[in-house]
Point group: C2
Chain length 377, copies 2
């Protein structure tokens, strides 16, 4: 079966590109001397997870307990659920633990620590926990030098849970615009996590795990002294946001949405295609970058370069393709029925709109279909 034999829109995964991206991150982690704990939220696919974990201990990161369920069923045992725990998820977490998973939670407040510890006392399930550190003012976490809060959380956990260490996510690196800027961000991420761990150890708490990571900081970090593991995810596919940061080239992007030309507005220089925001997502992550890619960069069906065509607008099941500069386009070059491939702004968001990957390997022949899942509970 070939790409010309399937209905559009469809999510296409180039496995050769995915493997090259994985090889690059694996080599980076080995050079830096840290273990990889891949984040599986981008792929949400057992086959993608297998490719990402190969050669490592099998430790993984997830963004939902649904991912924990699915990947545990597929054989992953050591699972970090890297979103601050809400108490309505504790029973679900305990079920996984009692089934044999080593599920670690995160939190960043005494109140949350007390809730997890109280649950442990009531149920007898002592859940391991990492304290989230705010290394870059980006989102959640305890300030790295807020030793009093770190100690208070550790003490609260001791009474019914288990402190496993600290973690941080240098998500602010997505706003850096140079290799040096990202490298500086990586050092801020590393230093914040390590300092927090030192505060905990100085207060007498064991802190075996020091977990950091984001795809840009991992690839540009110069040293990860004191860090025990790296959490990274989007590198598996890469996307236009990463390309805009200089972390990859558009040619490295392993996923794209196959779409058909279904009409033209010749006077406006527009093609209408059957991939709207339902297939592409509403993500506009390149809007604030130097090169705004609209709702995605348009390639030919095999992924080859075209003119500078982007999806300039999207309705639910319609995309409007035009030149980025708004210039004239000879729409007759793209007759109704022409297949195109749209590279995503944000691979996690675009892939989430689809139930499966159509896998190719550098050609237009489909070598497999890999299911993916969504949802939370």
């Amino acid at each position: 079966m070939r790409l010309t034999d399937i209905e559009t829109p469809a999510l296409v995964l180039d496995a050769a590109k995915m493997r090259a991206n994985i090889d690059r991150m694996n080599a980076t982690a080995r050079r830096l001397g840290v273990a990889l704990r891949p984040h599986l939220k981008t792929g949400k696919s057992v086959e993608v997870a297998r490719a990402m974990t190969e050669g490592w201990s099998g430790a993984v990161t997830v963004s939902t307990l649904k991912e924990a369920d699915e990947f545990f069923a597929a054989g992953c045992r050591d699972i970090l659920y890297a979103v601050g725990i809400a108490s309505n998820k504790l029973a679900h977490a305990a079920r996984l633990t009692q089934a044999g998973a080593q599920l670690t939670l995160i939190l960043d407040s005494v109140a949350a620590a007390e809730a997890v510890a109280a649950f442990g006392r009531e149920t007898g399930v002592r859940l391991p926990v990492l304290i989230e550190i705010d290394s870059d003012g980006h989102r959640a976490g305890v300030q790295p030098d807020d030793a009093a809060t770190l100690d208070a959380i550790a003490r609260a956990l001791a009474n019914g849970a288990e402190l496993a260490g600290v973690m941080t996510h240098g998500g602010g690196s997505y706003n850096s615009t140079s290799a040096d800027g990202i490298a500086a961000h990586a050092e801020m991420e590393r230093a914040g996590a390590v300092r927090a761990a030192e505060h905990l150890r100085a207060a007498g708490h064991a802190c075996p795990t020091v977990s950091v990571g984001s795809t840009p900081t991992a690839l540009f970090a110069r040293d990860l002294a004191g860090v025990t593991e790296l959490r990274v995810g989007v590198y598996v596919f890469f996307d236009l946001v990463m390309a805009g940061l200089g972390v990859c080239a558009p040619e490295d992007i392993a996923v794209g949405v196959l779409t058909s030309v279904i009409g033209h507005q010749a006077e406006r220089g527009q093609l209408i295609v059957d991939a709207g925001w339902m297939a592409l997502s509403r993500d506009r992550g390149t809007q604030g970058q130097v090169l705004d890619q609209g709702y995605g960069l348009v390639r030919d069906a095999e992924g080859g370069s075209l003119d500078d065509l982007v999806v300039v607008a999207a309705n639910q099941e319609h995309g409007i393709v035009a030149r980025r500069d708004g210039g004239p386009l000879d729409v007759a070059r793209f007759p109704v029925g022409t297949l195109l491939r749209v590279l995503p702004n944000h691979a996690c968001a675009t892939a989430a709109q689809h139930g499966a990957y159509r896998v190719v390997d550098g050609s237009d022949e489909i070598t497999g279909t890999w299911p993916r899942f969504g949802g939370w509970s």
Copy 2:
């Protein structure tokens, strides 16, 4: 079971509000003297579809052939697939037709008409087709007075398919900002479709169906002379974009995302919640409106009004809630574990991120769980 008993994030549907919204649109269509052909792309749920079609002929509109499959299996027979047909979907359309569906396609070019007709000659399946009309320069369609193209499409269809009429979608009405503006848009939509039908009839073609619709134009139209059916969808739930247009009030919005407070950044006046863009969608449809609702307007768990809190930023599984005006917020009022409900910018986009509706009926008691589906083929 109550809302406090489920894991977050979760999509909550208030059935009482949904029924009131449906009653309003039904009354509007009856007043205007046209048949309703509800668009089922917002709900993607058999239960929602049943509520929308009750009292009408059972005719429906869909945005994917997957919706056609699911709703045909649930008993809908007369189905309009309202996205320009790509030839790679014709075999799927024919399978539905041969199974007993009356599936109507749309297209707006001679090339597409020739493809559908050629398919009909090869397979013996003569598919009914509406010609799409561009009544407002919004997206796709033949210009209403391009009689030559209309005639050429009709002639191409005669040789292997069946011309069923014309359709248009006044999607540009989403940019109108007053009742008079939307009413004028409704008249443009009506007049364009009716003129196109008259051109076809003058050229000797039967044109039984004249189909128009969008939720704003339907609700503000003053007269629909010459129109045979109204296609509307988002009215079933309404959303903040519709509220921003004055089409509904925020209190009419029937869906919201239940979420938990998982942390605070007290100095920044921010709550961190466990609904990010995966649960809310990346839709920022109110960004260009007078009142920018961020990634959604925040209510208490039962949907009651709070301060002017919105989701100001969203990562995959994290939302950041703050005051719209950036002013100080006493985060202690919202302890870790507090449940909130986020009203969506765009109901179609937010609902699409979930696999089911948790149904309530004006209280916090869950009276049912309605599955929803996604995908294309």
